[in-house]
Amino acid sequence: MAFDPPGCAPPAFVPLARAVGAADDIDEARELQSALSGDEAAFSALYRRHRAAVYRFAWLVTGSAAQAADITQDVFEELLSTSSRYDGSRGSLAAYLCGIARFRAYRAADPRMQSVEDFDAVLEAHVEHDAPPLPSDRLERTRALQTLYAAIRKLPPVFRDVLILVELQEMSYTETAAIAGIELGTVRSRLSRAKAKLAQMLNECRVE
């Protein structure tokens, strides 16, 4: 499932999406069917496995804990509804839920928007920059992270999605491509540009 770009070492950490409940080993389609039939334990298991990924994505996009909580609630309510169109053969449940969260997060940001593809018109020049060193002091580091989150939210959405999904949600390139509805190669190029742009923004914050 995971896609590692040629010439790159695999990540040294255990991806969060895998570590929390080892979803790959569980028949999620069957578990989902049980949940949809009213099995509270099955639903709880699914919810606890995926809630954090959905919530964090929504929080990173909106910057609001309340909105992120609402979006998370909406995502799982949609999963429960009879209109839920999850098809296990087309991808993981995690990717499906993040896809719904992505759409809802953008709807929350701009209710007029009907399609996240609207953002595909946004293009940025590719500029390489080194990021400033991360402060070692705890308080300064906390402030620095708030600066980082603010910078991520200012990224053009097409780059922000990929950066959040790959770098912060630790999803594979394949899953990210499925969620964003783009080609695998586009994930790589957008990620590279997102990181360059982010580094540039962090440098500008330091100068200011």
């Binding site: 909580a69 799982f76 009879t82 620095a144 980082l148 770098e167």
Partner: protein, 168 residues
């Protein structure tokens, strides 16, 4: 996660660690579990419709109310006796079953077609008088017609009462 050695990876690693503390509160899970119960109730009622009479307009004025109560009590008693007899003989094999916690099944108050268009519903707990239940054509014990009865109503998003079950 490419290691481009420009310091940004340190920022992103710190962010991943920080984000691990970001999760929805426990109340959110309880609300969703409540939603699971509502979905289950909606489907269970839709699957086994025991349709009662549609609600009637409420009587106004003391005399009409008194008559209504008397009629309701009589109708309730009759329905109860006949219902129990027929229920055991005819409907028992297909009657809806209570849930795993032994609670009574929901009784549909609208025709089965009404459920087809409903995607969601809420369970509303309330206390109602026996007379109010009689208005819905439900059997009411004449001896308890003036006592409040605990019940749960399955209500559609548009406010339509779809089903009821008694919790005591």
């Amino acid at each position: 996660m490419m290691n481009d050695g420009n310091g940004l990876d340190d920022w992103l690693a710190a962010a991943r660690s920080d984000l691990s503390g970001h999760v929805p509160d426990l109340l959110a899970e309880q609300q969703l579990l409540s939603r699971v119960r509502e979905v289950r109730a909606l489907r269970s009622v839709a699957a086994s419709c025991v349709v009662a009479s549609p609600p009637r307009a409420r009587a106004t004025g003391f005399r009409r109310r008194w008559l209504s109560w008397r009629t309701a009590a009589f109708a309730g008693a009759t329905t109860l006796v006949v219902g129990i007899g027929f229920g055991f003989v005819v409907f028992a094999p297909t009657a809806p079953q209570g849930d795993a916690k032994g609670r009574a099944p929901f009784l549909a108050l609208v025709a089965s077609e009404a459920f087809a268009g409903e995607r969601s519903a809420s369970i509303v707990s309330s206390q109602v008088s026996g007379a109010a239940l009689a208005d819905y054509g439900l059997p009411v014990d004449p001896a308890r017609v003036d006592q409040p009865i605990r019940a749960e109503f399955l209500v559609s998003p548009t406010g339509l009462v779809l089903a009821v079950r008694f919790t005591e």
